[in-house]
């Protein structure tokens, strides 16, 4: 079976960023970028399933140098083929999905895996758009995959450690959660060897794509956020909402003093605090 894994290289999440003339730049002596955690999991799971089904994994990435780098990594990890969908290095998931769906539709693929949310935009649009164009079933937040007699049995990660078990047929699009698979280390030697392996090119500029209409107005560094609490904010005025907009929409930390005294008093205070924030009731369903 041919399994496709769609990946994207993103800037490392631990390195500070600047915006210079509308372009995002890292504060680092060299570019620090790699596949997002969800994409890594997709790749690992794709390879595992290929192993079970005697299949081949084709890694796909759209863009220019970043895409090529992402694909070389996939080859080093063990993907059988790599296809670079030639496009500008932009962030538009919809146009990318259109180009990739053209590639997949003609290629007798049985399964597509991709990260549910990329490390930068994080919208989850790409898998949905891809599934819509291919008219294949889509399962999101995939946390476990089992091959079934007539398709796939999947566990989806929902809130608070709960899991939903679902079933779907093949071919399908899976948008995966990072916990699906642990990323296996790829040695520098393997990366070096893979740098010489061929990458196929696929034309990626698509015409006639529907203008979906997301315009970026501004991009600036996020202000450091005060610590969030989980409680409700009662009676906020419009001014407070504006303050939220500037600070990133979080509520101020309760900076208080110490709670001390006799155990009974302290315990009561702790209980009150937890109650206020809804931690003493049953978990919400």
């Amino acid at each position: 079976m041919r399994i496709a894994v769609c990946v994207k290289q993103v800037l490392d999440s631990g390195v500070p960023l600047r915006v210079v003339d509308g372009v995002v730049r890292q504060e680092a002596p060299w570019p620090i970028a790699h596949l997002g955690a969800a994409d890594r999991a997709a790749l690992e799971e794709g390879l595992k399933l290929a192993g079970k089904l005697a299949g081949v994994v084709t890694a796909i990435s759209a863009g220019q140098e970043a895409a090529a780098a992402a694909l070389r990594f996939c080859l080093a990890r063990g993907a059988g083929r790599a296809v670079q969908v030639a496009r500008g290095d932009d962030l538009d998931p919809v146009a990318t999905a259109l180009a990739v769906s053209d590639l997949l539709a003609g290629g007798s693929f049985g399964l597509v895996l991709c990260g549910g949310e990329s490390g930068d935009g994080g919208s989850g649009r790409f898998p949905a758009e891809l599934a819509a164009r291919l008219d294949w079933p889509l399962v999101t937040a995939v946390a476990a995959v089992t091959l079934d007699s007539d398709g796939l049995k999947l566990e989806r990660r929902i809130e608070r450690g709960d899991r939903e078990v679902v079933r779907c047929g093949l071919p399908a699009v899976l948008a995966v959660d990072p916990i699906l698979a642990e990323a296996r280390y790829v040695s520098v030697r393997a990366r070096r060897v893979a740098a010489n392996e061929p990458i196929d090119l696929f034309r990626g500029e698509v015409s006639g794509v529907d203008v979906i209409g997301d315009e970026l107005i501004a991009l600036e560094p996020a202000k450091p956020r005060p610590k969030r609490t989980s409680g409700p904010a009662a009676g906020l005025s419009a001014m407070d909402r504006l303050a939220h907009a500037i600070t990133g929409g979080v509520q101020q930390k309760q900076s208080g003093g110490f709670v001390e005294g006799p155990p009974a008093t302290v315990a009561a205070e702790i209980l009150r605090f937890l109650e206020e924030r809804g931690f003493t009731g049953e978990r919400r369903g």
Binding site: V15, A28, V188, R189, A190
Partner: protein, 651 residues
């Protein structure tokens, strides 16, 4: 004219028996030779050993280890004496037999006259020593059952047995010969034989020694034949392999064998070098390596001797495992190693355990079979140049805060303080960096620190088996060092020090550890430690500074210069220092078994009764510093670097 004093040879032995003896001996030698050749073939299946140590060093080593055999007695006096007795006893007896052949078969009559008197006495003396040594060996192995000898090999009993029989039957035979030749008076010098004859005489029927002599002669031949034939099949093959191994020493401690090329590492005998295979037979399973190993002591799965012996069995076809990894050797054994070097330092026969362990780790790492903490750390080293996934832009923040000169790209600077990952990012180690900088500034030393371009030295990467990563990191660092025109590097960390000195290509750059530099500054009077409080301090020798690079005295001298410091020594110090458990990538992997290694070391310090454990390595500090609090001794015993203590004393 020959003197009547002499050695009668083969007098009572019928011709057919003599022929049988020659045939048997030749046959035994052939069997032995065949086995030795087979082993040599096995060794030669290994790959090329690129570079041996200089010949002069090797010969010197040979003289010390193979001839003088000082290493055997160094940690175990009794063993040294015992082995000397057996070794020299055997050598003299062998020589005696050769002389006998020379005298009889080649017609050079040396065993006559005064020389013979000398010969008779000396040979018997060494024969007695030989037997005594063997009895001692048997006592240690089978009666006392010394724990470290716990690994028994097939043929152990046979080897000791044959040797002992050879010695004992030799005396009996000599006694019989003395009796047969009519008890010549001068043969009293052959006191062993004389006494044996006296002891045997009650049992000799009708004083007919001829039959007895012939029988004992035959018996002695049988034991000798048995010994020769079985020799290379037992641990006695070390008689050939060990001197050979010592003569071909290749790696000094601290310089691992580099690997180049794109082929994936494999766990197979052919992937080791021929010297590594030879080593397997050179090992006499004396057990010292495991006795000295911190992982073994702490109850981890690793026992260095067992790795060598299991591989030896595999090489000789004595095991039914087909795979090395997961069969002959388990990954947890490999991951327990801290690369402290105690095994190599104590091994009398110059075996390089660490290279072997790292070679096998290379296979596991290349296949991605590593713990996720190590994987994360290696991704971090590759992408961000540090162990803990911090942003490179944060690396020199600590220095900026202290007004230290942080070099811009390409800015030339003669002396730099190479802070290392720990010294830059870890809060415990940062206190040391701050102390070092304060002292350097006070002493008026001009220096700079590299900013975000200082990358991890790659020591842990290489020790964990990621050779490609190490080479990439070292390439980057060498380039950075050259671009800034650096001539002297003061390192914070002994791991950086060791890898720069022995594994990097930094010709023309002086590399010095901060404790050595600081001691020099104190000696020159540029630093004056004047303030002190009464404290009992013990210095823990970091493996990579002490054992690996011979720095023992400078830190101690520096500590001694601090007023009111009472310096105490732990039982295991200097070359015998017990590892803190942090080397070899152990801060990044964890084999959960037994005790934690730093706890073992801490207990040793605690037993000494000290207030401060001083060290000179950030990882020693990281490993040891949390232990007092865990043991409820928070504040009672602290762990500090020599630099911190000096900084406190220099106001």
């Amino acid at each position: 004219m020959t003197s009547p004093i002499g050695r009668q040879i083969l007098g009572n032995v019928p011709a057919w028996l003599q022929v049988a003896m020659y045939v048997a001996t030749l046959g035994a030698c052939a069997v032995a030779a065949a086995k030795v050749i087979a082993q040599v073939r096995r060794w030669r299946r290994g790959g090329v050993e690129e570079r041996l140590l200089p010949l002069a060093d090797r010969l010197r080593d040979f003289a010390r280890r193979a001839l003088a055999q000082r290493d055997i007695g160094e940690r175990d006096r009794l063993a040294g004496v015992m082995h000397a007795m057996i070794f020299w006893g055997f050598a003299v007896l062998f020589l005696a037999t050769v002389l006998t052949f020379v005298d009889h078969d080649l017609g050079i009559h040396i065993l006559h006259g005064p020389f013979y008197l000398f010969f008779a006495f000396v040979v018997d003396l060494f024969g007695v020593l030989f037997v005594a040594g063997l009895l001692l060996a048997i006592y240690r192995r089978y009666v006392v059952q010394l724990h470290k000898l716990g690994y028994g090999r097939p043929g152990d009993a046979a080897a000791l047995g044959f040797l002992l029989l050879v010695g004992v039957t030799g005396f009996w035979l000599e006694g019989a010969r003395i009796a047969v030749t009519g008890w010549p008076g001068y043969e009293r010098l052959s006191f062993g034989g004389w006494i044996s004859a006296l002891l045997m005489s009650p049992f000799v029927p009708a004083n007919d020694w001829h039959g007895v002599h012939r029988a004992l002669w035959g018996l002695h031949v049988v034991t000798i034949t048995g010994l020769f034939a079985s020799l290379p099949f037992t641990r006695l093959i070390h008689m050939f392999a060990t001197p050979a191994n010592i003569l071909v020493r290749a790696r000094p401690l601290g310089a691992l064998r580099p690997v180049h090329g794109d082929a994936p590492p494999r766990a197979a005998l052919e992937s080791f070098t021929w010297k590594q295979l030879l080593e397997l037979d050179a090992c006499t399973s004396c057990g010292r390596c495991s006795a000295a190993c911190p992982a073994t002591t702490a109850g981890k799965p690793l026992s260095p001797m067992l790795i060598i012996q299991h591989l030896r069995e595999h090489m000789s076809g004595e095991r039914h495992d087909t795979r090395i990894l997961g069969g002959v050797v388990q990954p947890d054994e490999l991951w327990s190693c801290t690369t402290c070097g105690a095994c190599e330092e104590t091994c009398p026969v110059a075996i390089n355990h660490i290279d072997r362990i790292v070679d096998l780790r290379r296979v596991l790492t290349d296949q991605g079979e590593i713990q996720s903490t190590a994987a994360r750390a290696m991704e971090s080293m590759l992408g961000k140049g540090n162990l803990w996934d911090y942003a490179p832009s944060e690396r020199a923040r600590w220095a900026e805060r202290l007004g230290v000169r942080v070099l811009r790209d390409g800015e030339p600077c003669e002396t730099i303080y190479w802070t290392g990952c720990a010294g830059s990012y870890d809060e415990q180690a940062r206190k040391v960096s701050e102390s070092v900088v304060a002292l350097l500034q006070r002493a008026g030393v001009t220096f700079g620190v590299l900013g975000p371009r200082e990358g991890c030295s790659g020591d842990f990467a290489r020790r964990l088996g990621e050779e490609g990563l190490f080479q990439e990191l070292s390439r980057r660092n060498v380039e950075t060092i050259r671009t800034h025109g650096v001539k002297r590097i003061i390192t914070h960390c002994p791991h950086c020090l060791n890898t720069f000195l022995k594994e990097y290509d930094l010709d023309g750059v002086e590399i010095v550890h901060h404790s050595v530099l600081l001691e020099g500054l104190v000696r020159e009077g540029r630093l004056r430690p004047t303030r002190g409080t009464a404290q009992r301090v013990t210095y823990h020798d970091p493996c990579y500074l002490g054992r690996y690079n011979g720095v023992f005295d400078d830190p101690r001298t520096a500590l001694g210069a601090i007023p009111q410091v009472e310096l105490k020594e732990m039982p295991r110090s200097r070359e015998r220092s017990f590892c803190c458990g942090g080397g070899g990538g152990q801060v990044l992997v964890d084999v959960k078994a037994g005790e934690r290694v730093p706890n073992v070391r801490f207990a040793e310090a605690e037993a000494l009764g000290v207030d401060v454990i001083a060290t000179a390595c950030p990882f020693c500090k990281i490993m040891l510093a949390p232990v007092p609090a865990e043991r409820g001794l928070e504040g009672k015993i602290v762990v500090k670097d020599v630099a911190e203590l000096l900084a406190e004393a220099c106001v």
